[in-house]
Structures are given as C-alpha cells and as structure tokens.
Amino acid sequence: MPITYTSEEQIEVYRFSIPVTVGVPLLALFLQAFLPRRLPFFSIFDLPLLVTIYFGMARRNPISGLFTGAAIGLVQDMLGPYPIGIYGIAKTVVGYLASSLGVKLDVENAGTRLLVTLGFYLIHAAVYFGVARYMVNLTLNWSWSRGILAGLANAVVGVALYFVLDKFKQRT
C-alpha cells in the first residue's frame, strides 16, 4: 500500500464541469436523506463527506476544498434538526485538509484512498463531536469501536465511489 510523496511539479490538478460540481454533492445529499428510511443500515455512511474528500483531493486547492466542504456541510445541517454549522465546520476542516493532503501525497491509488478516507472520517467525527458537545451542548458519547467500524465502511464505499467519480475528472 504505497503512499508516495509528490513534488509540486508532479501534481496533476483536476477540475470538474459545473453540472458535476453541483449535481454530485446534491445527489449525495439527496441519497443520504432518502436511503436510510428504506435501508436503515445506510445511515452509517456519510456520502456528503466522501464527496467532500474526493473533490478536495482531486482539485488540490485548499480554498476550493474548504468552500466545497463548508457548502456541503451547511446544506446537510439545513436538512437536520440541529443548529446550522455543526456539519459545516466539520466538513470545512476536512475539505481543507483533504485538498492540502492532495498536494503532498499521491492519492490516486486505492490503498492510499482507503487509509486517507478512514483518517478523514475520524477527523470529521472528532470535530463534529467537539462542536456538538462543547458548543451546542448535545449529549454525544464518543465510541472508538463504532467510529473505526463506520470509518472502515465509509472508506470501502469511498474507494468504489472515487473510481466512479474519476470518470468525470477533467485535466486542467
């Protein structure tokens, strides 16, 4: 599972068409809202997070990554019952880190993507937990076992999803 470091010159930066940029996050949000009612196990996945990570890593632009994360997170917040901004903050951080990491690492192979997604899932969960518990005063309990299991499940789905989304990449 090689994680190769890349120099700035070797980096390939991708962009996406506007329909993909807007449509894929919206589709992810829609599926996230619709499927868990039909398939309860699906609630363990966080498709908007996977899309945030993917766009961040592919674009390799921290500013674009953090804004993508913020936008997706805020919309996700708007669909939920809690104050708006909890997911927004968590996904902003993840979007920024994912795009920053994309600059440093080769994130094109499946092994790297699996580990990176697992790591970002845990970071996202930790930030969400911190904000929800200490700013919004929600009573959340942290569970490592659940976090890692959910992270692994998301990582596996993420790797598959990234390969699908790779088809929409356009080289700059």
Binding site: L66, I89, M135, L138
Partner: protein, 421 residues
C-alpha cells in the same frame, strides 16, 4: 501584515470561514428557542431536496400498489373469512372494554377529572430523513398547508413516534423520540412509576429518573404520561427491554419502542386535542351479553297470541316484540334494566326463543372464549352502577337463572296454558 496574510492565505481563509460558522452557531444556540432565525435557508434546502423524495416515494408506492392489487388478490376470500371471525371476537372484546370505559368515565366524572381526547389527526407519509446518523428525524409530506404546527404529536397505530419540530409549507421535520435531544414524559403501566424517556446517540431509548430502589421488570409496558404537554396520556411508547444499575441513585432502563421507528411509512399527526370534564355516558354502550344474544340461534317467529305462552318448566325466557314483528330474547339478568342499550336484531335474526333460550344461552357460553364468558358473567351480575338507574318494568322473563327470575317475571296465569296454578 499583508505579506503575512499572503503567505498564510489559505490558513487565513480557513480560519475566517470557521470563525463565521462558529459565530452563526453561537447566535443560533443563544436563540435556540426561536427556530425562525434560520427558517429561510432551511426552507430553501428542504425545498430543493424533498420534491425528489416525494417523486420517488410516489413511484415506489405506485409500483407496490400495482403488485399488491394485481398479484396478491388470491386468497382474499379466505382472508376475508378470517377477518370476519376476528371482527366477531373483537366486537365481544370491545363490548367488554366499553363497559369498563363507561365505568371509568363514571368514576372520573365523580372526581371531576379532565380528559384529553385526540379529536383530529392528519395522516402523512414519511418521505425522507435528516440524512445524518447522529440525529433521528424524518420528513413527512404534510406541512403548514395541512394545518400542522410545531410540537404536535406524531403517532402510529403501534405507538408514539415523535413530535413535529420544523414546519414548512408542504413538508415537516419530525424529531423522533429516540433522538438524543428529545424527551417524553412516561409512566410504567403496572407499577405506575413516572420517568422521562430520552434518546441516545445510538438511537436507543432510555428511561431516566426512576430510583434504583424501585422494581422494574423487563417486558413492562411504557405509556405516555401527558406531562410533556405534547403526547396525550396513555399512548403506548414501548416496553422495558433491560434494567440495570445506572448513575447516581437511578436505574438504567432500556426501552424498546412500540412503533418501529426505523421502518416508518405512514404516521398520524395529532392536530387537535380536546380537553373536557369526564362525563359518565349511560345507556349508549353495547354489552357483551347483547352481542351474545344476537349470536344465539334463532327460531321461526311465533304468532303474537301465543307469544306469552311459555311451556311449563321453562318459564325463564319469553319473546319480546321488537317492533318489526320478530322476537328477541334479552338474556342477562340486568339487561332489562338498560333497555336502550339492548340492541334489536334486525330482520328477525334476533337470537333466542321461548323454548330454547336456556339451551341457547348455555350454547353460547360454551361457544365463546373465556374472556367473553367472563364478560357476560360480569355484565349480567356485577354491573355496579346500572341498578342505580330506574328499572323499567320488564316485559319479558330473563333466560338466565330461571329459578331466581321466575317469581319476579312470571307471566299471568291466564296467559300460560301449562301453568299448574
């Protein structure tokens, strides 16, 4: 300064964006009681997502209905028969319960209790969820346009589901009872212990505030207490699934929800409740004995002239004209005390006749389940409030306990040919 900002441009923007969101969050938390602050942007987001959800649900239901209506009609006849049998059983049960309810109402009226009734509900379909594993909420396809408001109770036939949290023109967000921020006032059915039911981050239900020296048994039913001013009292909430020691002096009680919260499809929103003083209803209930009477075997009508003729040794029952030319025997000793409640079997299908009332009565006793039996017994012998009412003059003799009834309701000797006197 500019060079510093330029050098750390990305980081500066990150901090700025985070700061703005934290600020927005702080404002919302401070004014958490007023959800209107964020209403507009929530409406936009919900309006963008829910039409697609509605469309998919519509398609799914359409295809399901097609399948059900077309392919699954076989066996409907047998099912219909089964259901009719069930209805018969349930009518008996209902009659017994009605009697209990009337008694309870009478007691409540004596104590001037206020009762709450669900007077109006709106049926709604579940079209989606919040999309988060950490919050338990659902979207339903009814909103302001259907008269929904925040804090209305959402229920199913199984039990309570949650409350309306945010209302949009044509959709609403329902916070389910297993969400970590929800709380329901409940009590245990048998022990009558009160507590607060809360959701956990894992979507489980925990009953709080029950002292550790209390005895709570798994399997006990949990009902809403009405103390939260949202759910009417007495609705099923769930059953106790696990009891263990909790923090401080309280028990940790896990509750399994009565409604299947993970597979909700249709729900009812309680849009109107009425509170009124309990009024003892009298004379409007149908009793198990009456229903049994209708089910007794019938005999051909007899001429009115001989209607009063009762064979010797069987003077306990006598046909009663019901105005339609048919005869009805009203079984049960106290039945005559409540003539308005005694249903009249239409079209002469009324059960019982002069000469077979006793056997029919015993036949009925053996033909129904023990619950019905006991209800008949209790109705006919232990109806504490009924005797208080003025007793109308019985026109007929009663089929049960002929020995005791015969002296009171014996027909005039002249009308009875076989009367030894």
């Amino acid at each position: 300064m500019e060079s510093v900002l330029g050098r750390y441009r990305n980081l500066t923007i990150l901090v700025g964006v985070l700061f703005l969101q934290v600020l927005g969050l702080a404002v919302q938390v401070k004014r958490s009681a007023d959800a209107e602050n964020t209403r507009l942007i929530r409406v936009w987001a919900v309006s963008a997502i829910t039409p697609f959800e509605r469309g998919l649900v519509w398609l799914q239901n359409g295809s399901n209905n097609l399948l059900h209506n077309y392919f699954f009609l076989r066996g409907v006849r047998a099912e219909n028969r089964q259901l009719k049998d069930q209805i018969e059983q349930m009518r008996l049960e209902q009659a017994r319960l009605t009697e209990d309810a009337v008694r309870a109402q009478r007691l409540q009226s004596l104590l001037a209790f206020k009762e709450q009734f669900i007077s109006k509900t709106v049926a709604a379909q579940v079209i989606g969820s919040s999309g988060s594993d950490l919050s338990r909420s659902i979207y339903i396809d009814k909103g302001e346009n259907a008269g929904l408001k925040a804090d209305m109770a959402v229920i199913t036939a199984g039990g309570i589901v949650g409350k309306v949290w945010l209302v949009y023109p044509s959709t609403s967000l329902v916070l389910m009872i297993n969400d970590q921020s929800s709380g329901v006032g409940v009590f245990l059915e048998k022990s009558r212990l009160q507590g607060v039911l809360r959701g956990t981050p894992n979507g489980e239900l925990i009953l709080e505030r029950v002292m550790s020296d209390e005895q709570v048994v798994p399997g006990e039913t949990v009902l809403s207490s009405g103390g939260d001013q949202i759910f009417p009292k007495g609705l099923p909430v769930g059953t106790v699934s696990k009891v263990g020691p909790g923090k401080d002096l309280f028990l940790s009680i896990k509750v399994k929800p009565a409604a299947d919260l993970s597979r909700l499809e249709e729900v009812l929103v309680v849009t109107e409740r009425q509170e009124r003083e309990a009024v003892a209803e009298s004379g409007a209930s149908v009793r198990a004995a009456d229903i049994l009477a209708r089910r007794l075997p019938s005999v051909p009508d007899k001429p009115a002239a001989v209607a009063g003729a009762v064979p010797a040794g069987n003077t306990s029952a006598k046909p009663q004209p019901n105005g339609s030319g048919s005869t009805v025997v009203t079984p049960g000793t106290k039945l005559a005390a409540k003539p308005a409640a005694a249903p009249v079997a239409a079209g002469g299908t009324g059960s019982g006749a002069t000469d077979n009332a006793s056997s029919a009565s015993s036949g009925a006793t053996s033909g129904v389940n023990s619950g019905a039996n006991s209800s008949v017994t209790s109705n006919s012998t232990n109806s504490p409030a009924k005797p208080a009412k003025p007793q109308p003059k019985p026109q007929t003799q009663q089929p049960q306990s002929p020995q005791t009834q015969a002296p009171q309701t014996a027909p005039p000797p002249a009308a009875t040919e076989d009367n030894p006197h």
